[in-house]
Symmetry: C2
DNA sequence: GGTTTAGCGGAACAGCGCTCCGCTTTGAAG
DNA sequence: CTTCAAAGCGGAGCGCTGTTCCGCTAAACC
């Protein structure tokens, strides 16, 4: 992991560089890298101390930069969530049909969830300050899902009435749990099939 | 809650009365009652101490009677799980079609899960000694589900290939989370619709 | 009654989230 | 380069968990 090349660091910063001290900015990056690494091996509910240790900082530093767990998780996965959100309109334009676009987009979302250990579970968790995570994911992705659903309805590929929020949550729920006998993708596929028009 | 009428208590005991001491048997019952009550208000992952307090016993007593959390949860809900399992064949005999029986049975299962706060989540949990709970539910219900699925396949109402375990897990997952904007029943209904034959 | 031992209670330990405050480092003014 | 306010840091410490362990109580059997 190359951390070299600090010559010009005014690239795409979320909002950390806001008249902050140099060591604070450095720590924030270290923290994000450490969290990303720990999340892979221990899941998103890894002990805070573990992340602090991996980053070589005290727990206080984590809480100052990321007051709640959700803030940290969101910061780590922001780019990927953003990419997923942006993929919605793109797919709608490129796919054969709105329903096909919806399918591909859901695939993207599912892939994202199943590869992040424990993330799907955390998304639905009602405890431990994960609510903000839930909120962010939903704020960002539900509108995209709504757009895809609307397009599919307009193309008469599915009946109207499906709530985007409900669908997203169902998909998230289906992605919970690692088990060789359980393939979330297959169940999501079933769910999507159920979305289509029942033939009279 | 009437706990009277101890005259003849040799009714349907699971296995507590096995040459045990009288106070042990009494404590076991108290514990089950207390746990059932606490589960309603605080969910199945309520603190052990809370259950112990409600029952008026020490925590050691709980661990002696129910070594893992799953043992306690299973003991509390055994009757209902059993009833659900037995309803399978009954519905198959009484319903209009195997698929209708499957639907009604799934409804039963979903009702059970959504009314027990946190149970669905615990079912999928991979931590805190809930594995045994998972195992019990599956051992008891998957065969019933398999029977219903087989019947529906035989009646050519659904295509073959659906794994009972996978379906049960998906349904369980869909029941996670209390939220006015999310109705598990509706999503399970979608899933079941997806199960049916796609019309060519 | 006496004796044995199953069973009980809860102190105690370990792992967690989160807070709080004394100390260090930074960056700019002199 | 020195000075110095304050931004930032670290980790001890608190409260709440699950789980164990052992001295003591009281049930059961003689």
């Amino acid at each position: 992991m190359p951390t070299k090349g600090q010559s010009g660091q005014s690239e795409s910063e979320e909002k950390p560089t806001r008249g902050k001290r140099a060591d604070a900015v450095r720590n924030r990056r270290t923290l994000l890298a450490a969290a990303a690494e720990v999340f892979v091996t221990s899941g998103v509910d890894a002990p805070i101390r573990e992340i602090a240790c991996q980053a070589g900082v005290g727990v206080g530093t984590i809480y100052r930069h990321f007051p709640t767990r959700a803030d940290l998780v969101v910061a780590v996965y922001r780019h990927q969530v953003e990419a997923c959100a942006e993929a919605g309109p793109t797919l709608l334009a490129s796919a054969d049909s709105p329903l096909a676009a919806l399918r591909q987009w859901v695939d993207l979302f599912v892939d994202f969830l199943v590869t992040k250990h424990g993330l799907a579970g955390a998304l639905q968790s009602d405890s431990s300050g994960f609510e903000a995570l839930h909120a962010y994911f939903l704020d960002r992705l539900v509108p995209v899902c709504a757009q895809l659903l609307d397009a599919a309805v307009a193309a008469d590929e599915i009946p109207p009435g499906t709530q985007p929020y409900e669908l997203m949550r169902a998909i998230g729920n289906l992605c919970i749990g690692h088990d060789p006998r359980y393939d979330p993708r297959r169940m999501v596929e079933l769910l999507l099939r159920g979305l289509q028009h029942p033939r009279p």
